[in-house]
Each structure stands twice: as structure tokens, then as C-alpha cells.
């Protein structure tokens, strides 16, 4: 149901969810009732580790993945807003924040940061059968299946993710998880306001306007820059994190079928990766202003045929 706000350029979309929605892939019912709110919300945040934007990326020997040696991995910057949003909703209504990451053992470093920031526990999703790890990393659908299974197992009521991971730029995983769960999602959220523990008003920037939506839990939100101001972990938080639980779940723990997540489960496959072509040296013109302008204009006209 989409209503146009009177002349305001705002859209209001009210999303309602039924009590139980069959999960499209497993056929298993997902309990979407609000649950016992007196215990607070069951919150999950999906966190991905990506090469830092400064990392010098080299293509691996297989020609289809990147060589992880000497690459510094960081939490995907958009996920930082997701983590902050998750912590804020917990601070408001109480409950538990679980940070979930999929990938090799190194993702535990990202999870430890989440625990230090204030997440209550962490789940690392790792299994040799999750196909070729490089492929799983690159197939958002296979990845979303694993993440959705984890969310289902946790019984989360609200899930946060970043709007995009800066390594692949697909903007796919978050919304795919919502689809697999049969949940509504709001992507690219820039503002979030809780009406009560079961309803949120969310704003997102669209072409020339801002869209305001109301969403009922369970729901998945993907965070954009500007949603909030992510906190730094405190030193006490880092020390407290050492005592918080971090579980590792494999395919068996998630009751996942090999065909859904193993090698070849992705709907796309990476054929090859190539670094961008090396930049050629620039050209420098010298002389006084008049001479330089004449030379540049001549070059644009004659050599480049641009004017």
C-alpha cells in the first residue's frame, strides 16, 4: 500500500506482515509474531569483512579471486552504521544483539569488534562445505542462504545490514536475506525512528525526494551513511568482549542442504578477475599562461579530437 503524502513529496508505505509467513525456500514457517516484548528485542546484525580501501588488491593465481596475503581487512563501512543502529535499538527497548559474519576465520576479528562495541554474542558461520570459499564470498545468493538460516536459527525479530559491501558493490545480500525469510525490508535507510518496539519509521533518499516508510517487525533494514554516528568501542568494552560468547556454526548446525550452499550453489560464477589497466603518464605543458592555454587547446583539438 503506497500513499502519496499531500504535496509533500513524501511517500508513506505501510507494510504489514501476517503472523506466519512460509519461508519461500525451506517451506519452514517463520514465526513473525512480535514475541514477548518484555524480554526485549531479538536483534541481529550482518557484518562483512572487506579489504580496506587502501589495500593494494592483487588477483590470485586462480585468476578468479583476490590474493588475501598482505590485505588488511576491515568491517565494511556501511555495516558500522548497521551495528550502531542495532545497539541503539537495544538501548531503547532492551534485548540482545547478535553479530553474524560469514567467511574464513579472520572474520572473527570483525566479530570481536562488534562484541567490544556492545553486541552480546557473535556467530561465525564457517564450514569447509560452504563451497569454494572464494565463490561463496562472491555469490550473494549462496551467502544470503547461509545468513538467512542463521537468522532463522536465532529467531531474530529485526536484522540490520549495510546497504552495500564496498568490495563487490552488489547491494544484494541484505535484501536477499529478507526475501528468503519472507520478511519486508527497507534498504538504504538514512533515518530510523522507533514508534514502539514493533514498528519503525524509516527514511530513505530517492531521486529528488525522501521516502518515509513504516515497517512492522520482523523486518530487515540496510543502513546508509548518515543513519547514525557509529561509536568507538571503549577499552572496557574490549575487555568485556573477551568473556562474551562467540559460536561457530557450520552447515550441519544450520541444517543447510549442500545443494543450496555448496560449490556451484551460486547463480553466478566468476570467470576471471582483472586489475584495472595501468594509468599512462600524464602530460605536462609549460610556459606562461597564454602559451600553456594555446598548447592545451591545440592538444584537445588535434591530438585528442575532443573539441
Amino acid at each position: 500500500m503506497v500513499k502519496r503524502g499531500a504535496g509533500s513529496g513524501l511517500f508513506v508505505l505501510a507494510v504489514r506482515t501476517g503472523a506466519a509467513i512460509p519461508c519461500p525456500e525451506s517451506g519452514q514457517a517463520v514465526d513473525s509474531s512480535a514475541g514477548d516484548r518484555s524480554l526485549g528485542l531479538n536483534i541481529a546484525v550482518l557484518v562483512k569483512q572487506v579489504p580496506s580501501s587502501e589495500a593494494r588488491i592483487k588477483v590470485a593465481a586462480d585468476g578468479r579471486s583476490i590474493d588475501p596475503t598482505d590485505v588488511e581487512y576491515v568491517i565494511n563501512p556501511y555495516d558500522e552504521y548497521a551495528i550502531e543502529a542495532a545497539l541503539q535499538v537495544k538501548e531503547k527497548f532492551g534485548g540482545e544483539v547478535v553479530a553474524i559474519a560469514l567467511g574464513p576465520q579472520r572474520v572473527e576479528e570483525a566479530l570481536r569488534t562488534c562484541l567490544a562495541l556492545g553486541a552480546d554474542r557473535a556467530v561465525s558461520l564457517r564450514d569447509s562445505s560452504f563451497g569454494d570459499p572464494a565463490l561463496l564470498e562472491r555469490s550473494s545468493l549462496a551467502r544470503a542462504r547461509v545468513l538467512a538460516a542463521a537468522v532463522r536459527k536465532l529467531g531474530s525479530e529485526v536484522v540490520f545490514a549495510g546497504k552495500v559491501s564496498i568490495d563487490e558493490d552488489n547491494s544484494a545480500t541484505g535484501v536477499q536475506v529478507a526475501e528468503l525469510l519472507g520478511w519486508p525490508h527497507v534498504s538504504v535507510a538514512t533515518r530510523l525512528e522507533w514508534v514502539d518496539a514493533a514498528h519503525a519509521k524509516v527514511s530513505r533518499e530517492i531521486e529528488g525526494a525522501s521516502e518515509e516508510l513504516e515497517v512492522a517487525l520482523p523486518a530487515l533494514l540496510t543502513a546508509n551513511k548518515g543513519l547514525n554516528e557509529p561509536r568507538y568501542p571503549s577499552l572496557k568494552g574490549i575487555m568485556a568482549a573477551k568473556k562474551k560468547p562467540m559460536d561457530t556454526w557450520d552447515a550441519a548446525a544450520l541444517e543447510l542442504d549442500q545443494a543450496a550452499v555448496g560449490a556451484g550453489a551460486g547463480r553466478i560464477s566468476i570467470r576471471s578477475l582483472e586489475p584495472p589497466p595501468a594509468r599512462t603518464a600524464g602530460q605536462i605543458w609549460t610556459g606562461d599562461a597564454r602559451e600553456m592555454v594555446t598548447k592545451v587547446v591545440a592538444a584537445l583539438k588535434n591530438d585528442r579530437k575532443l573539441i
Binding site: S53, E54, E72, A241
Partner: protein, 389 residues
Amino acid sequence: MARFQGLDFYSIDQSLSPDERQVRDLVRDWVTNEVLPGIEQHAREGTFPLHLIPKMGEELGLFGSNFNDYGCAGLSAIAYGLIMQELERGDSGLRSFASVQGSLVMYPIREFGSEAQKERWLPLLRRGAAIGCFGLTEPDHGSDPGGMETRAVRTDRGWLLSGTKMWITNGSIADVAVVWARTEDGIRGFLVERGTPGFTTSDVKRKFSLRASVTSELSFQDCEVPADSILSKTTGLKNPLMCLNQARYGIAWGAIGAAQACYDAALRYTLARTQFGKPLAAFQLVQNKLCQMVTEITKAQLLALQLGRLKDQGQAKPALVSLAKRNNVAIALDIARTARDMLGANGITDEYPVGRHMVNLESVSTYEGTHDIHALIVGHAVTGIEAFA
């Protein structure tokens, strides 16, 4: 903003625990994002970045983070040292602030104070809601604090303080001063609150070093403090020296941070700058300088690491701390001077952090026991002969 890549030529990172690395990276990123953008301006204007205090205190919990009570984080000595390293990569003034607050003010209150003094001050100091300073040095007694002239005399209601303390970091911005004074029963510590009648401060102006840090003179003229302001467990000169030993440990790490900042600037600069048709870094003489920097930083890191391990086992004897403070500050100063040279004319502007670190390190070399005083401490430890006087 990308994370600063510290020099780790010997894979020393492997010897750090995950939470030690996490603490280091947290402070490293914080310094990059919140300290570096404004620090040159503060150094230029001779002001301390006061707005960073609540962030270091309330938000991150850096002050007294090696203590495990009164809300402090209970970090290992190495994690604490790494924090000092990262702060000093920003500026020695910032690290000085944290050293004073934690090692020279919170530490003596925690070690020598009454329960009431601890309850009152430690939470405030930890959060940065109160600032502390440490007054030991006097105009006429620096390396020889045992000669101090500041006196405390018992009165009906408490103690009467008279004397002058000089070169006191945070002096005029402090809410509470830990002041060392001679009494009938030897040297003892007192907590003197800002605003106590007879207690005034004035700042040292026109410094060319530690410009982003407040350095003051404290003056006590018939300044009466209540009986409960004495640090009751203090008995003599060894008590302030115990404090200095804590702070010197932090300086041994801090100096590595300043050295890393200078090395990083020199490496980047010489790779980017071309003379005689090739990058400066392609010349043998320049590579020799870089090699020397890498060697000295690596040795300093190994010293600090082992000292940290010993400290956690309660075995960091004062002479060991002296050796590390002396060596690490000296090599940092040397690296800063070499980096200044490698940047050519650019090295004398504040476009680059090198000149600031270089002049800062002159103070660091002098305070908390001068380079030569530490040689005398190590000399005493190895010969058994005191050569101070």
C-alpha cells in the same frame, strides 16, 4: 580514513594478543580521525586540545586503563603501552596528558590515598571529568628532587604548604594537584584542589616544545589544606619515584609512536620526491638512513615488549624502565632529526609532523629523568656505585 600502517618489520604483532591489537587499532584510528586533523593548529597556537579529554576519558576509557578497579578497564601493561604509543604518534603533548592523568595522579591516589580520596577522585579522573597534575620539580631542583624546598607544616586544621613547583604539566587546567612537600617526617604527598586559597598557577609561555600541552608553575603561599588531603601512605622520596617509574614505562612506548610518525613521513616523502631523475629513496645514502630508522624502531619495540611482559609479572625493576625510556626517547629524537633532514626544506614547515615531533622529543628527553640521569640509574644498577652526586 585508512588505518595508519605502523612499522612491524619483525612481525612483533604476532606476539600481541587479539585484544591488545584491538586496543592498539582502536586508539590508532581514533588518533588518525580525531587528533591529527587539528593538532598542528594547537601546536601553532600553543593550546592543549581540551575537547579531546572527554573522548579519551568517558568515551574510550584511556585514563588509568591499566588499573582494574574504580571502573577502569584492567588492561595488560602491553595494551597500556600500545595506547601510549598511539597517542604519541599523534603528539607527545597528548601522551603527556594521559601519562600525568593515569600514572602520576590516579596511580598515587590509588596506591597511597585513603578510601575516601579514591572514591572521590578516581572515577572523576578516569572519565576526564576532573584533570590532575603532579608537582615534584621545583625551579631549583629538577634532577635532584630530594633537595626540594616546598614545605608542609602541621596546623590545627591540617597542613600549611609553602613553596613553588615548576614545569608542571596540566598545572593551570588541573582540578587537583598531587604536590610533594617536605614535612617533619620526610617527603609526603598532598592533594591540593584548584581554588584553595594561597594556591595559584601561571603558565610557561613561549615554549618551542610540547606546545600542545599546558606547562605551569604552581605557587603555594601559606596555602592551608585540610588534614584529609595528605596521601597518608606516603613516607618519602621513593613514593614520587614509584609514580615516575609508571610514567617512564609509558614514555618508553610513547617514543616509538613519535618515531613511527617520523619514519612514515620520511619513507613516503623519499619515495615520492624525485631529484637527479629518480626518487630520493633510490639513493644508497637515503636507504641507509631508512635502514637505520627501521633497525632502531624494531629494537625499541622489542625492548618495550619485553619490558611490558616483565611489568605484568611485577618484575619491571626501575633500572630496566630507565634503560628503555633512555634508549627509546634517544632513538626517537635521532629519527626525528634524520627525518627532518630527509624532508629537506619541507621538513621545517608544519605541513609535515616531523618538526613538531622533533622539538617535542626534546622535552621528552628531559622530563621524567633526563637522558643522563637514566644512564646514572643504569650505571648504579650494574656497578653498585651511585654516581649522582
